[in-house]
Symmetry: C3
Subunit: 294 residues, 3 copies
């Protein structure tokens, strides 16, 4: 088993492949050198015999199952994202002493706030939970009972046993977003942020998977379900109860109808309907309540 | 920009068009005089040159974009629906001193209760949030973690900027309703109630949009998503995970199958299935667990 | 009306038909003696003239509408699953003095914990609610804002009035399960457990109906909706936003695609897609992130 002690001391931080900057350790199970071309001064776990895929100067650790090895390795980097015993009660909320909360922000009664950053004029409703490392930017509003920065559930089989990937990332909600009640935004994976782009709205009951990259001025109606690593452009609109499969990409100004299920990437702007959702028409000017990104 | 000071002193309350009684101010972007025929002794924002649409005695304010002007105007009428600093802790819940709670009602531990009205024999589970102006009638039960009276998300573009409509309405839950856990019921818009009709059930995880008018003895199974302004007759049944598009109307005794997505109004009683949901069959007597309204 | 006093003193416990062991009282509205063949030393409510269906030694109570009579009877057996006035505040959570909590378990700030059982190494996130009789086994993790053991909503018409079946069952979450945030697991009906099998994952926003029997090593992605009494084998996978109708059975290794709606039982392993969901293909080895049960 590979532990932190098997890594160069200067590479003892974990990252998903895409974000692996110098100083991080990542893994790769494929066989295509291009996928690793961006790596510099870092470590990568690779299948035996594939060390040549890595660019020069990258430290290679060969191991039969790089994914399982990386997942096991992540356990050694786990942190407590809500250390209950450190919380202090303030005006009906429970707040970690290292939370950075702007004096103009308002924190709802019954909230539980980890060591996160909360910007000016933020308003957080009652009974919300904010896990560590979350960044809630200027002017964001969050309604009651929502959860920011919960852990995703990524795991792999190691024979008969499940190995979980410890979720080491964070959530960043950009300025002026509006988050409804009973919403969950799951945090990113290693060295990864889940991002909600500037000015986006996420209505009540919507669920955002780990590592999603939501563009600016998106609008998610109620009960939308995004799988992990969904990525959207500017001005997308997700109708009530719509669903997007993991790792799906939406270009700018994609509109998903109510209950539509997008299972493959939407590369053309316009309205998508059905299960699986298909492109149906251009976005007409007259549609109201829908972001028009200019 | 139009502010409250531009309105007659006796019209300084906002309303959606449908509910605009004497003394209110509303707006209209259309060109059909019939839509305004019900107005009396109130103010209406209209497009330039359309003042003649309003009945006599109605005060007309002409403005290039009545919707945007009304949304901006709403900001001046905003109220705090959960003034945290006024809440008082009582037996593990946080309660506003102006909340009217019947002595026979039971309020769960961890609840946050704004200045609302809670009737006899109401039972509210733990960790719920009840925003201001909500009316919870006789015998209603609400399970853990639900949110009543959250704000909806209505907005319009003003050039590059979003303008939000401040949500000034309320929620009324009629007698003997049964609301599950992790449910959100969004409050109405200006001078508008979201209504849950007498004896209706809303199971766990269902999300009810702003201004919905749910009839008596409806049954919503778990994870139902209703967009804003959905209206249903008596005895409707919504299967697990079903979805209804905004502003859709259902007549009496409409049954939506599990996962069905209703995108246009259902004018005939019976069973609707699919995406988009279509009428499939009459409602058979033998169906169990489904309200039979007589 | 039939009350507890009309039952033999030794049969004054209620049960669903399937689980009715000696000493319980149940009901039956059908006309097939085989459905009652398992009954021994118990009581059963039957339609008038159908007493002969019951095996010898079973106490028969004939009544015109056995279901309604049983539902009314259940009221007399009702218990308070969260007696607020008995809760005690401990380190920011509210805990019933009869809750059995292993010293190695961690209870989140803002939790409300009824008289349940919580095993070793369990971790419960902030603002969760655990109703009475729930059993949370060794190593289970539950994220913020989830509700375990809420009441389901079962009722029947008695003329113009609804009669609710008091939900007298419980929830059992087996070892090493991972439950996300904003999840609800509804408790079983009379003498019935809702069971989440060993090592299963239920991601954020998923809703589990009363009496579901989820097999081991299942994976429910976010926003999954299971109706009541759904039963699944080992290693099933439910995609984001998928829906399963009440009383549906899934064999081992059934994979439901994102947004798929399963309305009838899945008797063959493999991948099911669409509305209604249909079998599409075998489960390919190479699918990642999906449980492979061996």
């Amino acid at each position: 088993m590979i532990g932190p002690e098997n890594l160069p001391e200067s590479h003892r931080k974990l990252s998903i492949l895409r974000n692996a900057e110098p100083g991080f350790t990542t893994y790769y199970t494929g066989e295509n050198a291009e996928d690793l071309a961006h790596l510099r001064s870092c470590s990568v776990l690779l299948k035996p015999g594939f060390g040549h895929l890595a660019p020069e100067g990258v430290n290679v650790v060969e191991t039969p199952r790089p994914q399982v090895a990386f997942y096991r390795l992540s356990k050694g980097f786990e942190e407590d994202y809500l250390p209950f015993h450190s919380l202090e009660q303030k005006a009906g909320a429970w707040i970690h002493p290292e939370a950075q909360i702007h004096p103009s922000a308002s924190i709802g009664t019954g909230c539980v706030i980890g060591p996160c950053r909360i910007g000016p004029s933020v308003k957080i409703g009652p009974n919300c939970t904010i896990y560590a490392k979350s960044v809630i930017s200027n002017g964001v509003e969050i309604s009651a009972g929502s959860v920011i920065g919960a852990s995703g559930m990524m795991w792999a089989w190691d024979g008969q046993h499940k190995v979980f990937l410890s979720q080491l990332g964070s959530v960043r909600i950009e300025a002026e977003c509006n988050i409804g009640s009973n919403v969950t935004i799951v945090r990113g994976n290693a060295n990864e942020e889940t991002v909600i782009g500037k000015g986006s709205c996420i209505a009540h009951g919507s669920m955002i998977g780990h590592g999603c990259q939501i563009g600016p001025q998106n609008h998610l109606a109620n009960s939308v379900a995004l799988g992990g690593s969904v990525s959207s452009g500017a001005g997308c609109f997700f109708g009530s109860g719509s669903v997007v499969s993991p790792s799906t990409t939406l270009t700018n100004e994609v509109v998903l109808g109510a209950g539509a299920v997008l299972t493959s990437s939407a590369t053309r702007s316009g309205i998508y309907l059905g299960l699986p959702a298909k492109w149906k028409s251009e976005l007409a000017e007259r549609m109201s309540g829908i972001p028009k990104w200019k």
